[in-house]
């Protein structure tokens, strides 16, 4: 009877747990900061789109480049100051102390028991996907800008064939503005990527180093105990 009762109890408890798990799982993968997630991707993706489609948007090359520069800057600021700490609880910055020396600080929010502070899976996935995919695309653009002329500049190239210095300068400066913008994209987004990877690795390294040192000590202790226990037979076989 008692056993049956306890079985019923455990069955009830098991059902309750199963319900809680299903209600917990959606909470962890729910997007808690939809606006931040949107802006995290919006600036990066729109910079890439404007870069690829600048002929369609406006006939002015300068306006496109200025737009891309502003989008890249806003993206850098947003990812560094807002979306990083809201979506994954990481932050990196530069701190200058009293002596004038600069330190780079990489910080990660410690895991706390509060539900609101844990990182949600979906947000983390969106964050890292956006953070990694876009700099890779900018690097691809950098290589393609290095090795090929854009179609816009073909008329300018034909003018260069006439041999005037100012038109040569027009072609090289125009190409260099394009490459400057691409380099800026690579640098800014690469910096964010590097900063956040260091934040992530830094936090993980603390845990793993603690874990390895603890496990290492346990392992050594076990070996010493084994040696002390088997001291007799080991020495006997060695002396043979």
């Amino acid at each position: 009877m008692l056993q049956q009762d306890s079985n019923d109890d455990t069955e009830d408890v098991a059902l309750f747990d199963a319900e809680e798990e299903t209600t917990n799982r959606p909470k962890k993968s729910k997007i808690r900061h939809p606006v931040a997630s949107f802006f995290h991707l919006f600036f990066r993706v729109s910079a890439i789109i404007v870069y690829l489609l600048c002929e369609l948007f406006s006939s002015s090359f300068i306006a496109c480049m200025v737009t891309i520069i502003l989008l890249l800057s806003c993206d850098f600021w947003a990812v560094k100051n807002v979306t990083g700490r809201l979506m994954v609880g990481l932050r990196w910055w530069n701190h200058i102390d009293e002596d004038g020396k600069s330190h780079w600080v990489f910080e990660s929010r410690k895991a706390s028991s509060q539900e609101s502070k844990t990182v949600s899976e979906a947000e983390s996935r969106i964050f890292w996907l956006g953070l990694i995919a876009c700099p890779v695309l900018w690097v691809v653009f950098a290589f393609s800008a290095l090795f090929s002329f854009r179609v816009k500049w073909l008329p300018a190239v034909s003018l260069v064939a006439e041999g005037t210095v100012s038109q040569c300068w027009a072609v090289t400066a125009g190409c260099s503005l394009l490459q400057a913008v691409v380099v800026m994209g690579v640098v800014l987004q690469g910096a964010n990527l590097y900063g956040y990877i260091r934040c992530k690795v830094g936090s993980r390294k603390n845990l793993t180093s603690m874990a390895t040192s603890y496990l290492g000590k346990q392992f050594l202790r076990q070996i010493v105990v084994e040696i002390q226990r088997c001291r007799g037979p080991v020495f006997a076989t060695a002396s043979e």
Binding site: I62, V82, G100, S102, W169, G174
Partner: protein
């Protein structure tokens, strides 16, 4: 692109987005004020950020456009030229001051040099307005006067912040490239004609 002096505990890690934006905007505004009224203070150096230099650089490059903005061939060289001169010049001066043994960090120096372009940007604005009137020697004298005054202001503002970071016998060596840098920008502003 921002550094902070205060220690970051969970309060700023969890602050609202509006707080972050307002704080950064106020910091940028404060630095602009510091450039307009240069006093010996550490604010520009301690809390560096590169927003001001970016805004000023883009504004100056846009204002130095010759001809119509829509024509790509005319607009391209001036914009790229100004951008590259400003950023490469600032990086070179920073490297120079670091090699001379200054104890200022890379981004701090870029911050100071960039913010001290503000007087020259104002000069550019004034020159463009003056150029709306008829061209002539008086026109040129007015522009020359304005550019010289703003150039001197930029030099005073930047040396007020940068000279302290150098050892005393190297101050002239560190200030001379800054002088050249602002001279080149002033030259570009003075020789600008909207044709």
């Amino acid at each position: 692109m921002r550094s902070r002096v205060r220690e970051f505990d969970s309060s700023t890690l969890n602050e609202s987005v509006q707080n972050t934006i307002m704080r950064d905007l106020k910091a940028v505004g404060k630095k602009f004020m510091h450039v307009l009224y240069p006093r010996k203070s550490n604010t520009l150096l301690r809390d560096w950020d590169l927003w001001g230099p970016l805004i000023l650089c883009v504004t100056l490059a846009l204002m130095l456009q010759r001809g119509s903005v829509d024509s790509e061939k005319d607009g391209g060289p001036q914009f790229a030229e100004v951008f590259v001169i400003i950023w490469f010049g600032a990086v070179t001066i920073t490297l120079n001051s670091k090699l001379l043994g200054g104890n200022i960090s890379f981004f701090q120096s870029l911050c100071v040099l960039g913010y001290c372009i503000l007087p020259l940007t104002v000069a550019m604005l004034v020159c463009r307005l003056v150029l709306l009137a008829e061209l002539g020697p008086i026109n040129f004298m007015v522009r020359l006067f304005v550019v010289i005054v703003m150039f001197a202001w930029s030099i005073v503002a930047s040396t007020a912040f940068l000279a302290d970071s150098q050892p005393p016998n190297r101050k002239a060596l560190a200030v001379y490239p800054v002088f050249l840098f602002y001279f080149v920008i002033s030259w570009m502003i003075l020789t600008f004609t909207p044709q």
